[in-house]
């Protein structure tokens, strides 16, 4: 919803960012203080993984896993090396998901946070591997998992290797679940395609941010396939709530409190 600040270096806190919903300009520092919500119109900015971790996890509690894993161009797919390089520069991350262990109001939990600033949060083998390892670690240590999803779906550039990650992660989610452990998914804007058709929809408790786009098929594809005009609010969180596919919608600023409340009810 906003123009992007390049990094989260402290010197950039004064950078002005423009809200795409109301065109109001706000400094990055003010936005951070406000959980990346536009102070004038209330629109939600797509958060970077580390901004989210700062917002949700207890200060200094987060310890990252598998930070060094980087994608390889396994199919020698055209322009993929350049795309990865560019995504690493603009996002400041090695891949589209950040995983680790930390605590939320004192409750130790495993967490993964996807980042749409890295190739639209698309899932290739590294994203699949990191999330799988997180669930396996959480199973071993008997920890709950909280996962923030945002993704354009499976990553085209890794072909069938990407599609298979849907099955791989689902297997790890199932083992974690069968051990009686808790998984909470938080759906954020946008969550689509192969991520919606796998671990975004496999949680015990599914929370969504307001007005997040969540669906399987892309809206343009649906319009082209059916020739129908899409109803107002189609594939938004409120639509999913109405149709029975999310447990609750929570405001970003109350998320930490709500997540901790749910975690504490499972101790």
């Amino acid at each position: 919803m906003f123009g992007l600040g390049k990094t989260r270096e402290p010197e950039n806190l004064d950078v002005l960012m423009t809200c795409k919903a109301c065109a109001e300009q706000t400094t990055y520092g003010t936005l951070l203080q406000n959980a990346m919500v536009c102070p004038s119109c209330g629109a939600y900015m797509r958060m970077r993984a580390r901004e989210r971790i700062d917002l949700i996890m207890d200060e200094g509690s987060f310890s990252e896993m598998d930070k060094g894993l980087k994608s390889k161009n396994i199919l020698s797919f055209p322009e993929y090396d350049e795309k990865i390089q560019k995504a690493m520069e603009t996002s400041g991350e090695n891949e589209a998901v950040v995983c680790g262990i930390g605590s939320i109001e004192g409750v130790k939990t495993a967490i993964f946070v996807m980042d749409s600033h890295f190739m639209m949060g698309s899932m290739g083998t590294v994203v699949g591997e990191k999330i799988t390892r997180l669930f396996e670690r959480a199973l071993k240590d008997a920890l709950p998992v909280i996962g923030f999803t945002t993704s354009g779906g499976a990553r085209m550039q890794e072909g069938m290797f990407s599609l298979m990650q849907m099955a791989k992660v689902s297997g790890a989610v199932k083992r974690h679940s069968d051990a009686g452990l808790l998984y909470i998914a938080v759906l954020t804007d946008p969550t689509t395609g192969g991520v919606t058709a796998s671990f975004a929809m496999e949680a015990d408790i599914t929370v969504a941010e307001p007005n997040a786009l969540v669906g399987f098929a892309g809206q343009r594809v649906i319009e082209q396939t059916t020739g129908q005009k899409l109803p107002e609010g189609f594939q938004r969180s409120e639509f999913l709530l109405k149709h029975g596919f999310v447990d609750l919608i929570e405001e970003r600023k109350k998320l930490k409190y709500t997540l901790s409340k749910i975690l504490k009810l499972h101790r």
Binding site: F161, K168, V173, K174, T226
Partner: protein
């Protein structure tokens, strides 16, 4: 043969489809309908029958070979109720200790308003999770087009077999070309780079077996497939369930890194 020629073969309306394979593979087939939640999806045909003398559950996507059939089958694009019917029949197979055979042939899960309202993503996701721990052997065969998540929803198995002219892809070559080069007419080039043919996928460890098609009749192809299914089922029948599930998990666990 070029990858895109195989795509054309896989989509050919004269190609043998799910119902042909069900009828030739099995005797005493009894079809079962409905997901017990919402409706019955014509794009997925499921039921029980005998593979030689072994009762099996078979679940097939069917595109339809006549205009009326295609409409009835929604051109082989399953809706959430189709995936839920499939899962219901898989659970039934688990209960009665029958192996499950899935036949995949779809351009993709249906892209429609109703499909989204009824949770297309959730239906596929649930199948991926449940198939991973289904306590009975599961074999999947891509007989035509394996279109992304909508195909994978019947594709979590102990082994995945492909017919030689079948394709299996994360995105259609046309979709890939229009994203990559803003030009859907470059689909043939996209088909090459995506590595979607049976031979390409076998080489990369995504599938186990390719059933040859060249100079073979549909009947011969089906009989070869039947022999392959029997061989694999015989092998899994010897495994304790815990070992079967361990191997199924590891089959996917090792893909990628």
């Amino acid at each position: 043969m070029k990858a895109y020629e195989r795509v054309m073969q896989a989509r050919n309306s004269h190609r043998a489809m799910g119902l042909f394979y069900i009828q030739r593979l099995l005797s005493n087939f009894v079809e079962m309908h409905g997901d017990r939640r919402y409706s019955d999806d014509g794009a997925i045909v499921g039921g029980i029958g005998l593979l030689n003398d072994m009762p099996v559950t078979i679940i097939a996507m069917e595109r339809g070979s006549t205009v009326e059939e295609r409409v009835k089958r929604n051109f082989g694009c399953p809706s959430p109720e189709g995936y839920r019917k499939a899962l219901r029949l898989m659970k039934q197979a688990e209960k009665f200790h029958r192996p499950v055979i899935c036949l995949i042939d779809t351009s993709g899960a249906y892209c429609g308003i109703g499909a989204e309202e009824r949770g297309q993503g959730q239906a596929i996701a649930e199948n991926l999770m449940e198939m991973m721990t289904l306590k009975t052997p599961v074999l999947s065969v891509v007989i035509g087009e394996g279109g992304s998540g909508g195909a994978l929803a019947l594709g979590v198995a102990d082994s995945v077999i492909m017919l030689e002219n079948a394709v299996y892809s994360v995105i259609s070559p046309e979709g890939c070309a229009s994203i990559l080069w803003k030009d859907a007419s470059k689909a043939a080039e996209a088909a090459e780079v995506l590595k979607i043919t049976a031979h390409d996928l076998k080489k990369r460890g995504i599938i186990e077996t390719v059933i040859p098609e060249e100079n073979r009749t549909n009947e011969e192809i089906c009989d070869d497939l039947k022999a392959e299914l029997l061989k694999r089922l015989e092998k899994s029948a010897k495994l304790p369930v815990s070992k079967l599930l361990e191997e199924r998990y590891n089959r996917y666990r090792k893909i990628g890194l």
